[in-house]
């Protein structure tokens, strides 16, 4: 288990995250509807998962030994679709079909439409339970795969989440890691105004989980934490990834308007300009 990661690898993952962000903007512009803030904020986590952490073979999405990634907050699926296309699950050109009639890229992920999605999601609160099922099967079948679940912070309003959190501890599922997109927004406003969640870390710990609280837009921190939680035994882990919703596009950052709206042509142009500036910055930093 590496306790550090090279600058070169970090740079590679940061570049992939930027490519994911560019693809998200293009997809949403094309679709004319969909969610912007969540996907952009989670691009660094998805880059880390798909290009570093997950043990997977994109050309063999049904490979028995693969790590499983469950997306519980299905509305941020553009970030997953972009990461999947970039890693070779399907052609990049297919991203243009998002939300269109006949597309495999449904507005919310549909398991049997697209190989590589482990579950169907959109209705919130249902992912951790399904991941527990997949993790229990892993233990029953003596498989080494690890199960990752990405969830929203607002999604933690759902009682179902806490039912599954109790059960994860009950069965000591150390092959399970929950990643929370802690971006502080949901539809009706800031999470702490709509329904206060803090302290999420204490809540999980008191439920018997190993908890980490990190900067979810810092690739080095994400990757090292993902490596670390795999070494925790006899309990499931949660990573509270503090992200900036809309990260990378200045006018979308921290503004809950962008939870459920796509950019128009003008806004997409501005967004791409922001992302190109960031690209140049990465180049010059390393």
């Amino acid at each position: 288990m590496p306790s550090d990661i090279s600058d070169k690898k970090v740079k590679f993952l940061e570049e992939k995250a930027l490519e994911i962000r560019e693809l998200i903007i293009e997809m949403l512009l094309n679709a004319g509807s969909g969610h912007s803030a969540g996907p952009l904020g989670m691009a660094d986590v998805f880059s880390s998962l798909y290009f570093h952490t997950l043990n997977h073979i994109p050309s063999k999405p049904d490979w028995e030994e693969r790590d499983r990634l469950v997306l519980s907050n299905g509305h941020i699926c553009p970030v997953r679709y972009a990461a999947m296309a970039l890693s070779g699950y399907f052609p990049l050109s297919e991203l243009k079909t998002l939300r269109q009639l006949g597309s495999r890229l449904q507005g919310h992920p549909h398991r049997t439409s697209l190989p590589g999605l482990e579950t169907t999601s959109g209705p919130l609160g249902e992912g951790v339970s399904q991941a527990i099922g997949i993790a229990l099967a892993g233990k029953m079948n003596k498989k080494d795969y690890h199960v990752y679940v990405v969830t929203g912070d607002g999604e933690h309003d759902e009682g179902n989440i806490w039912e599954s959190v109790m059960m994860g501890a009950r069965y000591k599922l150390d092959n399970l890691t929950v990643i929370i997109d802690r971006n502080n927004i949901q539809i009706d406003g800031f999470t702490e105004d709509v329904m206060p969640l803090e302290s999420l870390k204490n809540k999980y710990e008191s439920f018997g989980w190993h908890a980490e609280d990190i900067d979810g837009n810092n690739i080095r921190e994400i990757v090292l934490t993902l490596d670390k939680v795999k070494t925790i035994h006899e309990m499931p882990s949660v990573i509270i990834a503090r992200t900036i919703p809309g990260k990378g596009v200045h006018f979308m950052e921290n503004n809950y308007y962008w939870h459920g709206n796509p950019p128009n042509k003008e806004q997409a142009k501005m967004a791409m300009k922001d992302l190109r500036t960031l690209k140049n910055k990465i180049e010059s930093e390393y």
């Binding site: 939300r99 009639l101 006949g102 597309s103 449904q106 209705p123 607002g154 309003d157 949901q186």
Partner: protein
Amino acid sequence: MINKDLQLNEFLFSSGVTNIATRDGYGEGLLSLAQENENIVVLTADLAESTRVDKFEEKYPDRFFECGISEQNMVAVAAGLGVTGKRVFTSSYATFSPGKNWETIRTTVCYNDSDVKIAGHHAGIMTAQDGATHQATEDIALVRCLPNMKVFVPADYFEAIRITEYVGKIYGPAYIRFSREKTPVITTEKTPFEPGENFSYWVSDKPECIIFATGYLLYFSLLAAKKLKEEGIEVEVVNVSSIKPINEENIVNKVKDVRKVVTVEDHQVAGGMGSMISEILSKECPSQISFMGLQDRFGESGKSFELVSKFGLDDVGIKNTVLNLLKK
């Protein structure tokens, strides 16, 4: 021809017909209810703006409660409020309420007979690009089978106002179904709504087929009726906005001399409005029925009117279904 007694929108068949979403009618209805009755309370589960209760929240912050994303919790809280003399509207998407929280509604609202109204928004394939997870196509079936529950599906914006105001004036559990998309305004402020009565919007002295339509698909049914008339075929079109209660005799009287029926709904054909019509007719007036709606499959992502055509629920699809039925 159009039923003149109902004072429908005179621009109904013009290409520039006004489109307004039924959820906007819900928001309007709530505001007028709140003004008259201070016991009206509104709850939402992180969907204030899209279920159009944001204005109510602004105007009556003391009677508005944000439950966060917790549909099960929301209806049970509503049930608690509803047994204390409050009249509570819960606002979420139909897939989650009455979908996700169905048993809680069954016990705490219906069996408990609490004064709770369930507003099920974004119903049907009209929820469009979000895809099947967000397109409630089973909600009518879910609520129709619950004792004590009243069930209404407004066909347009004005009817949505009237139905919201009606359920806000009576005690007890009720469900109202709304769509996200802007749809044609069919009625006017003068058009009657009476619970249990379902009026014929297109009438004829000698119809060959009776079309029962619910929700915005009434519009496409009326368009189909007009096209059929141009081809010399007379039909009658009934707006089934009142699913429960329902005047069964009224339904039988419309059909008994015709015995050919088409039902049209943005819902699974199993358990929906069409099922209800066939339950009524099979008792005293067995008829040939073509059921239009989703035929035991989920919806999918796409543009809203594109999906209506794909599932054959537009005027062309309805007209062809009538023609096929008449050949049988």
